[in-house]
Amino acid sequence: MNRLARIARTTAFKLSVLYLAVFTALSAFLLIYISRNTNQLMLAQVTQTLNAEITGLPEEYVRGGVRALVASIDRRARRPDASLYLLTDFAGNPIAGNIPERPKTILGETASGVQRVHYLRRDAAGVEEEREALIRQFDLRGGYRLLVGRDLGETRHFVDILAEARQLWIGVVVIMAVVTWFFVNRRVMKRIDDIADTSQTIMEGDLSGRLPVAGNDDEFDRLATNLNAMLDRIELLMHGMKDVTDNIAHDLKTPLTRLRNRVETALREARTDTDYRSALEATLDESDNLIRIFDSLLRIARIEAMTPEAGMDTVDLRQLVGQLADLYGPAAEDAGGRLNVDVPDGLLAECNAGLINQVLVNLVENALKYAVPETGRQVITISAAEAGERIYLTVTDNGPGIPEEALDRVADRFVRLDESRSEPGHGLGLSLVRAVARLHGGDVRLQDAEPGLKATIDLPRAAAHGDTTDDDRRSTG
């Protein structure tokens, strides 16, 4: 019962019922139309035959008298598939013909039109049978009356066959509809059930499950392909989340453990005030470090949750980079190197200036911290160039760079390399760079600068001069 109700609720069932009704109605209409037309056509043909017969016979009578007429009728009546003939005298007695008597239902003595009557037919064995016929009668001189008719049995038979065919046809349509429904239903239900089953396993936590794609590019394939793409994205995000959680666990747990160990050691071993003091100072440093990590994590989470429009402005990159170089240039020079700027004049980007500053600060500070070249002369270059609708902002150093095999890993997941694990913030710094790049519709690319590291992010180019949003903002702000 339940199962029947479930089947009755399915779209496949409803569609099948609808199609069945439409097809049945249509074929019934078609068949009725055909049989009616056929009937009329056959009657018209019979009438035509009668008319042809009847025009010949009276001429025979005029030329050869009753004798000739009777001979002609006898001859014609003996032909296979003969028409019906009856010649009667003035008293109505049959003289010649192949039917025994005038049909009782015949109308008017002088009627000359075609009429449909019942008559008695006697076969070779003498058995009489009432049948239907179309007849026409003709009065001849001398009181003779000629009756020519055509048995309608065959026509009737044909119409009956058509009617039978109609029923058969409707039956076949119903059966075909049911069979079609069964297959369509099985196919549709099966695929929908597959989708439902797969989503069930996914909901239960197995994110690797994917919907089956039959490969015939139908609407189910399109649906399944789209759902699979969505699942890919969800899986990626879940993995990303897991990575972030793992990173948080590592980034916060390690310094927290260090902090705890120091306090414990101080409590156990410190004897003098100086001991306590240095332990407390170390604790303070460690907690500042923790706060910094926590801030970075929060900032990355915030940026990832930001809508792209938030805080976007038309920014002159030369000015922005110039100011940053002004701040960091001396630090690079003190380290025996230099900070170059290679940004063309009037290069306008549509970006969040605060976040781009943060990105450049992270990249430049990374370079200052890690990229000490063997020659000792550190060269950091901030450059920008436009390509189509994007602007590529690059920070290059000539330090040891990142090993080729690690480059992919760093670019992929932004894990910190083990060698730098002890230094705080590196991995998170690049994560932030990536979050900002993605917010601007781009991504970060790390390449080998041979030697050194080349980090590039791409930003949208600001609309051409005459862009009104900037002026509007200024006048309303």
């Binding site: 500042d288 706060i291 910094r292 801030d295 929060l298 900032r299 915030r302 805080g311 100011q323 002004d326 701040l327 960091y328 001396p330 630090a331 003190d334 605060g354 500053n357 943060q358 600060v361 500070e365 200052l368 911290k369 913030g425």
Partner: protein, 228 residues
């Protein structure tokens, strides 16, 4: 001595602040929620208000807005657990004068409070010349000399020295310098500021008997008159 009002609902944090400020000779009053804080701020005469961003009864930003609408322009330092750039902008827009994200170092807070208190009142006479010892900074002529020696300064060095001399005798932290001289709001992980300071020191102190620019360990820098 400064009269300071601390509007902060976390009693422990407020007590910690008040204790630190009192030990340095300031007078610190406390209020536990927005309404009480607003009342006290309107009733008393304070040099600086320290207001937490999120307060019970009345939000910290709303307290500042009411004060400003009523014509009270006491300098306000906003404390906030929300350390993002847009929160800073909101705080300053509401009428705050400075913004310090939690958690903060006490030295940082102290330096900012003192800078706020000494800030020239708006509408007051603008000093065109700063003097510290024999160091003279002429803001109109954009020139600097110490004793009889002209000291050529880069524009950025000039801004740096200007800010230090404006706060002469007080400690300015590295983040204060970054915010006020470069207009950046981030926590540098490298010694960028120290490099700029050592260059400036090389220009104004090198070759002179008495140093004017001092590094305050764990806090920042100060420029001050030689003792005695």
């Amino acid at each position: 001595m400064l009269r300071i009002l601390i509007i902060e609902d976390d009693a422990e944090a407020a007590a910690y602040l008040a204790k630190g400020l009192t030990e340095l000779g300031h007078v610190a009053d406390r209020a536990g929620d927005g309404e009480a804080g607003l009342e006290q701020a309107l009733a008393g005469t304070y040099d600086v208000l320290i207001i937490d961003r999120m307060l019970p009864k009345r939000d910290g930003l709303s307290v500042i807005e009411v004060l400003r609408k009523g014509g009270n322009y006491t300098p306000v330092l906003i404390l906030s657990a929300l350390g993002q750039v847009d929160d800073r902008v909101k705080g300053l827009k509401a009428g705050g004068d400075d913004y310090l994200p939690k958690p903060y170092a006490f030295t940082e807070l102290l330096a900012r409070v003192e800078a706020l208190a000494r800030r020239p009142k708006s509408g007051g006479e603008v000093e065109t010349t700063y003097r510290v010892g024999d160091l003279v900074l002429d803001r109109l002529a954009h020139s600097c000399r110490r004793g009889q020696t002209d000291i050529p300064l880069q524009p950025r060095e000039f801004r740096l020295l200007e800010y230090l001399m404006q706060n002469a005798g007080q400690v300015v932290t590295r983040t204060m310098l970054l915010e006020n001289v470069w207009e950046y709001h981030f926590d540098p992980q490298t010694n960028v500021i120290d490099v700029h300071m050592s260059r400036l020191r090389g220009k104004i102190d090198k070759g002179f008997d008495v140093p004017l620019l001092h590094t305050i360990r764990g806090a920042g820098y100060t420029i001050r008159e030689p003792a005695g």
